[in-house]
Amino acid sequence: MVARLIPAPAEPADKWEVQLRKGCLELAILSALWSERLYGLEIMRRLASGSGLNVPEGTVYPLLSRLKAEGLLSSEWVEADAGHPRKYYRLTPAGRRRVVEMARFWKSFSASLDDLLAPVRKEER
């Protein structure tokens, strides 16, 4: 009975990693679209090469649809050189503001965390 009252142990590392990636995925997608419009597969390739986020298509497409519904992205169909139309996404003004806010927070948060982690890294060496 007493044991049940003891707080649960900390989350396993893999669960923590999922939480972290969850928080970053939206920022990663919006950032990938900062300088140019991209279509779905291009966004996934950009995420994989730029941040190591190997996101399945079944996750990205509905997420892009949600970001569009929230007014952060807009889309347009473009007849591509590939011979078939592609749906390109670009940031809306609201999306650009959101990325700036997220990036600002990310920068200050990671800097604070770096300070905290400094002794840990020192110990590791």
């Binding site: 893999d14 990693e17 999922v18 939480q19 990636r21 969850k22 995925l25 279509y39 779905g40 597969l41 986020l53 190997n54 996101v55 399945p56 298509e57 079944g58 996750t59 497409y61 509905p62 649809s65 949600r66 519904a69 169909w77 590939a82 011979g83 078939h84 139309p85 592609r86 749906k87």
Partner: protein
């Protein structure tokens, strides 16, 4: 293991199934989603534009089952709309989409349906009472021992329990139940969307 089905047939079947499961959305939205996935299949083809069976299977596994992919679009759209509007009808409609996916969704839908029906019955009865005094909470007995809210043909056999108190009690009880059901529905929707996103994003870590 090679199959007798051509890659193009596999794609067509997948897209047809996706379209079928997206039927809760407007035709414009369905076409937009299906064409985007079709475009994705074409992008994964080789330089000559031809798709191999192995390539199609890889693409299909990364998309997941058509029903699950459609559910991600439909449920999220309906539930997001419900969260934004906070109106009982859109909440019920959103939860109905969830109910088609799981037993938990079905139970939440049933609780909300009962809550809204109960709340609306009392609320409407309270509003109607001043215009029609026959409206009330009737104890219909002694044979049936049942309660009837509203106008009942059997009213002459029983007696009214609340009288004019139905107006304040009905408004408070009805309005309160509708409000509580709305909060409960929105809380469940929020929890479900968070869990669903976590589950989908769990695949990101693998």
């Amino acid at each position: 293991m090679p199959t007798l089905v051509s890659p193009q047939t596999l794609i067509d079947r997948y897209l047809a199934e996706l379209r079928r499961h997206l039927r809760a959305l407007s035709e414009e939205q369905v076409t937009d989603i299906v064409e985007e996935i079709r475009s994705y299949f074409r992008d994964t083809a080789g330089a000559d534009g031809a798709m191999t069976e192995a390539g199609v299977h890889t693409a299909l596994s990364r998309l997941g089952p058509a029903s699950a992919l459609a559910a991600s679009y439909v449920t999220d759209k309906l539930l997001a709309r419900a969260q934004r509007s906070r109106m009982p009808w859109t909440i019920l409609r959103g939860i109905f989409g969830w109910a088609t996916l799981s037993l938990k969704g079905f139970l939440v839908f049933m609780v909300c349906l009962v809550g809204y029906t109960f709340g609306a019955s009392f609320f409407i009865a309270a509003l109607a009472k001043p215009f029609n005094p026959k409206v009330g909470l009737w104890f219909v007995g002694p044979d049936s021992y049942s309660l009837a809210l509203g106008m009942t043909d059997a009213a002459h056999q029983g007696h009214e329990l609340l009288g004019w108190k139905l107006v304040p009690i009905g408004l408070a009880l009805g309005g309160g139940t509708i409000l509580l059901t709305t909060y409960f529905g929105l809380w469940c929707i929020r929890r479900f969307r968070q869990t669903r996103q976590m589950r989908q994003l769990g695949e990101v870590a693998q």
